[in-house]
Symmetry: C2
Subunit: 403 residues, 2 copies
């Protein structure tokens, strides 16, 4: 029997070159989903490339969870093996064109937490939601990375259509709450972090140890119904305004692929409590683009985010709370200081009062049929860029409504 082999080549400026090698889950018609990496515009089956015996049996699973659970040393080893293997002749059967596969949710999500880590975003929301307060930030904001738990079951992969949610809302002119499809449907452009291995109850993960636990990063769109959220969120926080859907990109970019993107976070003043102090740069110079019906409307800079992912994980666990393989925590909306760097439309259109032009039409919040695509890249070696792929979603009408 002859095994057909091939040698893959990737353009030198590809955002999916040998310095990236993200992990995802793909399938081809008639076959179950399996782990893969993306190399240029090739999707390479990990089991067929590296073998499926012993420790590599995880490369036959329908999610990345079993591989992630093998731990940090194993991730390091597999990444090195993968980089070496892709320089050689490989089995042609392991390779598919990106266009020929279906990409799936890469991770079975355990607990999901969304942070509020961008100062520009938090300040903008404070001004819009609590204009009576002299300081747009709440008193706790610079002392701890604020977050809330969200619904894991409604996290979907890029390309999944998003049905406009219905719910209760009560505008300033409504005497009583009304029920119906959200009239203020929004996005939040975020970076999500996947926990590869968690911590047992009672044994917090320190900032220093976070590096060993975070498997990688994804793009994350936390679709938000602002009218539902505004009515429900006091005093226990957002729920129905968010829980209908969140979109993640299909490729998990390994943390080491972002080594070239490490920068200092913005200066944290007042000084943080010792359990949040960082021993190395944990900011990430990741540049987002938000496309609304094909037009770039915003370029949020992740480097401007105040709290780092290591601080987020350390804070989440400092009370002894356990995390697990497959936990996902996201940054919250990434917004920069400029108007065209705001990662949510409620900020970009200032609560809907300052419409923007999108592909020749006026917009404040999302119309049915609108499509949002988040993309991002980060600095890689030798002037290259590391790509995150995309988080894409199109809005469908609520069944009760043709809005």
């Amino acid at each position: 029997m002859t095994t057909l082999t091939t040698r893959l080549s990737v353009p030198a400026d590809s955002p999916f070159g040998p310095a990236n090698l993200p992990y995802g889950i793909y399938s081809v018609p008639g076959q179950p989903p399996r782990p893969a990496t993306r190399y240029g515009d090739h999707v390479v089956d990990l089991g067929l490339l590296l073998g499926e015996q012993g420790e590599n049996a995880v490369f036959t699973e329908p999610t990345l969870n079993a591989f992630m659970a093998q731990g940090h040393d194993r991730w390091t080893e597999v990444r090195a093996v993968l980089q070496a293997a892709l320089r050689e002749e490989i089995a042609a059967a392991a390779v598919h064109d990106l266009d020929a596969v279906t990409l799936h949710l890469p991770v079975e999500v355990a607990d999901y937490v969304d942070f509020y880590a961008s100062e520009h975003h938090a300040a903008n929301l404070g001004r819009l939601f609590r204009p009576q307060n002299p300081d747009p930030l709440t008193p706790n904001w610079k002392h701890l990375p604020i977050s809330y738990h969200g619904r894991s079951a409604s996290i979907v992969v890029s390309g999944t259509d998003i049905v406009r949610p219905a719910g209760q809302r009560k505008g300033p002119d409504d005497a009583v709450p009304v029920f119906g499809p959200s009239a203020r449907l929004d996005i939040e452009a975020e970076l999500g972090f996947v926990v590869g291995t968690g911590n047992p109850m009672g044994e917090p993960i320190s900032v220093e140890e976070a590096e060993q636990h975070i498997f990688g990063a994804v793009l994350f769109n936390d679709w938000s119904a602002r009218d539902i959220q505004a009515w429900e969120y006091i005093p226990l926080g957002p729920n129905l305004g968010k829980s209908f859907a969140s979109t993640v990109s299909p490729w998990v970019v390994p943390l080491p692929a972002l080594d070239g993107a490490r920068v200092d976070t913005p200066v944290q003043e007042p000084a943080v409590l010792p359990y949040l102090a960082m021993d190395r740069p944990w900011g990430l110079d990741v540049d987002f683009e938000v496309r609304w019906n094909g037009e770039v409307v915003s370029r949020p800079p992740y480097a401007a985010v105040y709290w780092s992912p290591a601080q987020m994980l350390a804070h989440l666990t400092v009370n002894g709370a356990p995390t697990r393989t497959g936990d996902l925590f996201a940054s919250g909306t990434v917004s920069g200081p400029e108007k065209d760097q705001r990662g949510a439309f409620i900020e970009l259109t200032w609560g809907g009062t300052e419409p923007v032009m999108v592909a020749g039409a006026t917009r404040t919040f999302l119309h049915n049929g609108d499509e949002i695509v988040l993309t991002a890249t980060a600095p890689g070696p030798g002037g290259t860029r590391i790509g995150f792929g995309e988080a894409r979603g199109r809005i469908l009408a609520h069944p009760s409504d043709g809005r």
Copy 2:
């Protein structure tokens, strides 16, 4: 081969008679956890009683999830078969004494949501946390059942020790936040509801359909660090003040076992929106007892809870959010109108200003070594009571502290 058989008898006034038959997961030394029912003080292995072939293969699983996923008709059928089987001679090997087994978390928890459904509790907390507001209830409270998502990974079975959490707090006299073990560790006596079968994204569960989806009920203690919670919860709700641990009782009481406990909820005025309207009584006449170091300090009446579990599930899904087998939603603290009916110590001791005597000692919040046991019963047929068992937990010192 002879199979040893036995006929079980249970006292007529047992809270675990043939009208209850809750489901749980037990193990004996050297054997894996398996599903069982409790009959009096006997634990009866479901696989050994009913067989393990075909549909009954779910009775060899280490959680109830596979059985629950079989759906409402199957739950009805198994309950009838179980009631019939327990009247006959059964295999002695299927039966264990309650004292001889270890009980486990009965359900692998998917998404977990905690409500705020008791008006007395919400009003008490409003008076304590937001004394400046003329109305202790927030404007949305009587229009929707408020809730937040919590951490599934930290839900533990009765009997698990609870380590005092550490975290940030900032008291009124603190210039800056301080870090350390919680000084205001509290309980919340709640009823939890287990979702047996969920809904696909975009297809809400109506109030009328809730009956088909709710598998049963458990006791739930939402341990709460009030000092951590008070500092963190604005604007995104509680997180670290709760996420360190919640305790559930090991036996899931099937919803049909609570038929005799159905009562009307308190009058809901103003009228709810149509999607929250109920077509049958959904209040539950479940009487709690809260034991603090062996002494009953409170008797919260579940019948006083304003929002019903059917309304909770309908609200959770009305925006199209999916639920899954193993989802757990809890009521929030059950408090009645009287002081000795308050289900949290922050209410019972009015923010710590009115200490109570507990077994000869003064208490406001929990001391290390304190043990809390929640129990509850509900009306069953012919003057009997339906038992929930108990949710028990003892407080251990934080490693940094001998408090």
